[in-house]
């Protein structure tokens, strides 16, 4: 075997090793990626489809991942882009919904007497309420809330994943949370 072809074989073997390592690391993060997928999807089935599309694309384009950088963020960038591409934005325009002036309406709706402990009052909401309310938050805002609150990403990481400026992350987060609270307040009133 000439030196050139043995170099080639070594490179091939190294490439295969890197790929297997990439695949193992990506699969090990699947539970964490799934939580975000579930947060940005309306149903479990939609989240499962999104996961499969994300991992299929990730495995195909593994060479564009730079080893040593944040793999979870890289996978979620694929996921959020796919979610946008799939046209799941068919919701009302965010600005068409009036929001209350202050940030206290959810607490006040949950406890009009203002007597309850702030933490306990939230126990009147179920996990289903939250999932339903989240699904009502328009995508641009929901993606940021899910990445920061569920994925526990920093503002800078969320900005990188969604390819938007950090200031936009902060303003969408602020508005997204207010829309979420408004939806939760509406659900709380409906169920009374």
């Amino acid at each position: 075997m000439s030196e050139t072809s043995s170099d080639g074989a070594r490179r091939l073997a190294e490439g295969a090793r890197n790929r297997v390592q990439f695949e193992e690391e990506a699969l090990a993060l699947a539970d964490q990626v799934y939580r975000v997928a579930r947060g940005v999807s309306r149903s479990k089935e939609e989240a499962e489809d999104l996961m499969q599309e994300t991992y299929a694309r990730a495995f195909r384009s593994w060479q564009s991942y730079t080893p040593g950088t944040n793999l979870r963020a890289w996978l979620l960038r694929i996921l959020t882009n796919l979610n946008i591409d799939r046209g799941r934005r068919a919701q009302r325009a965010p600005d068409s919904q009036p929001l209350e002036e202050t940030d206290y309406f959810l607490y006040n709706r949950l406890d009009p007497t203002n007597q309850s402990d702030e933490e306990r009052v939230l126990q009147r909401l179920s996990q289903d309420n939250v999932a339903e309310a989240l699904s009502e938050v328009p995508h641009d805002f929901r993606d940021v809330v899910v990445l920061v609150d569920i994925g526990e990403f920093s503002y800078a990481e969320a900005a990188q994943i969604l390819d938007i400026p950090i200031g936009t992350v902060m303003s969408r987060l602020h508005r997204g949370r207010r829309i979420l609270k408004k939806e939760l307040a509406d659900l709380a009133v409906d169920s009374q």
Partner: protein, 77 residues
């Protein structure tokens, strides 16, 4: 908890504090303020509870079958 009690500090710093965005010094300052300000403590408890509620809404784990399907998506060597 009403808007009448508004605290400017709270509106500016509470969210980044809860989002783990403050430096160690800023956190210390924030914790000092939270210890002293009843209004901010109430807001903190409510906002923190809300974040935990949002996180707990998606704690349902992935189905093992989906995990297996993802592993099968790997390309052949």
């Amino acid at each position: 908890m009403t808007a009448d009690e508004l605290c400017d500090w709270c509106e500016e710093v509470l969210q980044p504090y809860l989002d783990r965005e403050l430096t160690a010094d800023e956190r210390k300052e924030a914790e000092g303020h939270l210890a002293d300000c009843t209004y901010c403590r109430k807001r903190y408890k409510f906002e923190d509870g809300l974040r935990r509620l949002v996180r707990s809404s998606v704690l349902e784990p992935m189905e093992p079958a989906l995990k297996a399907r993802l592993a099968n998506l790997r390309l052949e060597l």
